[in-house]
């Protein structure tokens, strides 16, 4: 979906700048950060549709970042980008709730298609949630403001 908001997390600055330019060229809104901490801060500040997360980073690594993101309990989907040396941890990450993983180096088209899939998944989640909420309101309407979840938080 054009205009999706993407958070790019990788310790390689050249990689993030290049990648964000590429994604911007393809119509996405991209924010790039270079550490796990910065990513979590960014997510607390703002809504994102998809996080693209490198696993191997100094300091807080991808897995730890993922756990933190999960704690925030967002609709945001996470795509793992791995140097493949850590394929086992990539699978771990998937088990922890990442949407999918990609091995570096990857074609931009592959990344884009995965991002699209992730976005769709997020969209489904949001719609389901909305439906549930509509159902709730129909059953016991309290406030019309509950119809749209404030920010992207589930509850």
């Amino acid at each position: 979906m054009k205009g999706s908001k993407i958070l790019l997390v990788d310790d390689e600055i050249v990689f993030t700048t290049n990648m964000s330019r590429l994604l911007v060229n393809r119509g996405y809104q991209v924010t790039a950060v270079n550490s796990g901490d910065a990513a979590v801060q960014e997510l607390e500040k703002d809504d994102f549709d998809v996080v693209v997360l490198d696993l191997k980073m100094p300091g807080m690594d991808g897995i730890a970042t993922l756990k933190e993101i999960k704690k925030l309990d967002l609709f945001t989907q996470t795509l793992i980008l791995t140097g493949h040396g850590s394929i086992d941890s990539a699978l771990d990450a998937v088990r922890l709730g990442a949407y999918d993983y990609l091995t570096k180096p990857c074609e931009i088209d592959d990344l884009v298609s995965k991002i699209e899939c992730a976005w769709q998944k997020k969209d489904e989640h949001v719609k389901e949630e909305m439906q549930e909420n509509v159902q709730k309101i129909i059953e016991s309407p309290h406030s019309v403001f509950d119809l749209y979840p404030s920010k992207d938080k589930k509850k």
């Binding site: 390689e12 990689f15 590429l22 140097g83 493949h84 086992d88 699978l91 091995t103 180096p105």
Partner: protein, 594 residues
């Protein structure tokens, strides 16, 4: 990587068991030690005892011999004295007149010879040397003895025993004569000793096969006929030493110069007459029993030494064998350990390197994409540049993909952190393995061929474990081509719906496996490769992995033609193994990646 492995292998050789030669050295050392510690003392004691015994026995034998000689000498002396005493008795108890009476002398002669014919004749001679009476086989009555040597001696000494002489009868004989004084008158009673009887008497001694006994006088003339060589009255070749000890025994060593070489000679001096009794015997006969005892002794001694030596050699060989086996075993274990740690470190290293390479390649890829994006937005007139640009971009993509593939394989190779059951497309897997191995096999002239069943279902298995199996089998197949300039390894897959599994075959055109080795190749540590090259673990690891994956591995081989390993893998492990793999169960979650 291959070159690397070979290189890092070189220091291993120092860990290999000592060379064959050093075992031979060890063997020699052990044997020598046993010999020095047991055989040498045994021989020393044995020889010492033997020498001591010889000395002891020899002394006793010589003493006994001496005793015998002395007894015999005394016996001969005794005989002569007896005869003299008899004559003296007859002369003293008879007067000349008595003896001249006919029959009287005959009477005495017979009386004296009653036991044995000791005397041959008997005569009475007056002081002028004329025969007065005579009994004997010769006709000597008219003989006059006045000028004879013995006659002078007896007149002087009163009793005389002569040496052997020829006399009137021209035969060797000796006489005993006594002088009798009757007032102014003197006469002589003379007896001739029977030479034959005397000789028997002298030789009446146990002297065995080689012994001889004879008498010589002071001039060294035989007084009796010796048994071997020479006859009575001849000059004997025995040196007559002046009258010294009454008895002496000498043992002559074997040397050719002395007439007594190799003999034991006993001598005894008779006092009256001054004759020397000589008793000779071959040394070997005298010491026969002692020599036999010694010989038996020595034979036993050397036999026991020999048996110790043989036992020592056998025990040593056995022990060295054990040591060698232990060494081999230790070397193998060592090697295996080295190999394992080497593999582990190579794995770690390559994983790190691969990871580090992936990042820059990823950046290159993004740069390329940026350029492409830019390119599409700008209008470029020059078509040649456009073409070149696009083909370069393609090349960059292809080469980056290649880098990715290499690092990917490296990482798969080194990945053995945990066993993970996942869904595997075996065809793709084989292609991957072939891709990884091709670089190695190409240099040794071996082609890797694949023959893949297109309708292959995915199976549940552990790809990193399977990868190990494949690497081991292909390495073995490559090794089996050693010495052949070219060859091929064919990897094929086939789905068997009935067996609910997949058959994988790895067939090579190598040397094949000797039929006597066939049922041992899966044994741990069984290898036909030299120590340092093969640990013999490859196939046993394959076997245990395949069993663990509920599959089966078999081998077919034609020596000289090639070998084929056939692996059966079930489609899923679940049926047979419910609980265990359920826990790990990451297969579902890993699906999206496939």
């Amino acid at each position: 990587m291959n070159g690397h492995e070979i290189h890092t292998m070189t220091p291993d050789i120092t860990l290999n068991p000592p060379e064959k030669n050093s075992y031979r050295y060890l063997f020699r050392r052990f044997t020598l030690l046993t010999v020095v510690c047991s055989i040498v003392p045994l021989l020393l004691v044995g020889w010492g005892l033997n020498i001591h015994y010889t000395y002891f026995a020899q002394t006793r034998i010589v003493n006994a011999f001496e005793e015998q000689v002395a007894n015999h000498g005394r016996f001969i002396e005794q005989f002569l004295r007896e005869q003299s005493t008899k004559l003296r008795l007859v002369a003293d108890t008879h007067s000349k007149k008595d003896l001249r009476q006919p029959g009287s002398l005959m009477n005495i002669f017979e009386t004296m010879n009653r036991e044995q014919p000791y005397i041959m004749d008997l005569g009475v001679i007056d002081q002028l040397g004329n025969h007065l009476a005579y009994i004997g086989p010769y006709d000597l009555l008219d003989k006059v003895y006045f000028h004879e040597d013995w006659f002078k001696q007896v007149m002087q000494k009163g009793l005389y025993i002569s040496d052997m002489f020829m006399g009137f009868r021209q035969e060797p004989h000796f006489i005993i004569a006594v002088l009798r004084r009757e007032g102014d008158d003197q006469w002589i009673l003379r007896a001739t000793i029977n030479t034959r009887v005397f000789r028997t008497l002298v030789e009446n001694m146990r002297i065995g096969e080689t012994g001889e006994v004879y008498l010589v006088n002071t001039q060294g003339v035989y007084q009796t006929t010796p048994r071997f060589g020479g006859s009575i009255m001849d000059q004997a070749d025995v040196a007559v030493e002046p009258f010294k000890d009454p008895v002496s025994v000498e043992v002559f060593k074997k040397n050719n110069t002395s007439p007594f070489s190799g003999q034991v000679v006993g001598r005894y001096w008779l006092t009256h007459p001054e004759w020397m009794l000589v008793v000779k015997q071959a040394r070997s006969e005298t010491f026969e029993e002692m020599d036999r005892a010694r010989f038996v002794n020595l034979v036993f001694l050397h036999l026991s030494a020999l048996s110790i030596l043989v036992a020592a050699i056998f025990i040593t060989r056995y022990m060295v064998g054990i040591i060698r086996k232990r060494d081999d075993h230790a070397a193998r274990l060592n090697n295996q350990l080295m190999q394992a740690s080497k593999l582990a470190s190579i794995g770690e290293l390559s994983a790190g390197v691969a990871h580090e390479i992936n990042n820059p390649v990823a950046i290159i890829m993004t740069e390329r994409q940026l350029l492409l994006d830019q390119f599409q937005q700008t209008t470029i007139e020059d078509p040649a540049f456009k073409d070149q640009f696009l083909s370069s971009m393609d090349q960059i993509a292809v080469q980056s993909q290649r880098c990715k593939r290499i690092t990917h394989n490296l990482l798969r190779f080194s990945r053995r952190t945990r066993s993970m059951i996942e869904s595997i497309d075996l065809n793709r897997f084989v292609a991957e393995v072939v891709d990884l191995m091709e670089r190695e096999t190409k240099t040794s002239g071996i082609r890797l061929l694949t023959d893949l069943d297109p309708d292959l279902p995915a199976i549940q298995s552990d790809s990193s474990q399977l990868q190990q199996v494949f690497l081991n089998l292909i390495t073995n197949a490559v090794d089996a081509h050693e010495g052949k300039p070219y060859g091929s390894i064919r990897i094929s897959t086939r789905y068997d719906a009935d067996a609910r599994g997949i058959f994988l075959s790895i067939a090579d055109t190598g040397t094949g496996i000797d039929s006597k080795h066939l049922d041992r190749i899966f044994d741990p540590f069984f290898t036909t490769k030299p120590v340092g090259k093969g640990t013999g673990l490859g196939l046993s690891i394959c076997y245990s992995i395949i069993r663990q994956l509920k599959g089966n591995i078999t081998v077919k081989s034609e020596p000289g033609e090639g070998t084929e390993f056939i692996i059966f893998l079930p489609l899923t492990l679940k049926e047979k193994e419910n609980g265990e793999s359920g826990q790990s169960g990451p297969d579902k979650t890993s699906d999206p990646s496939m």
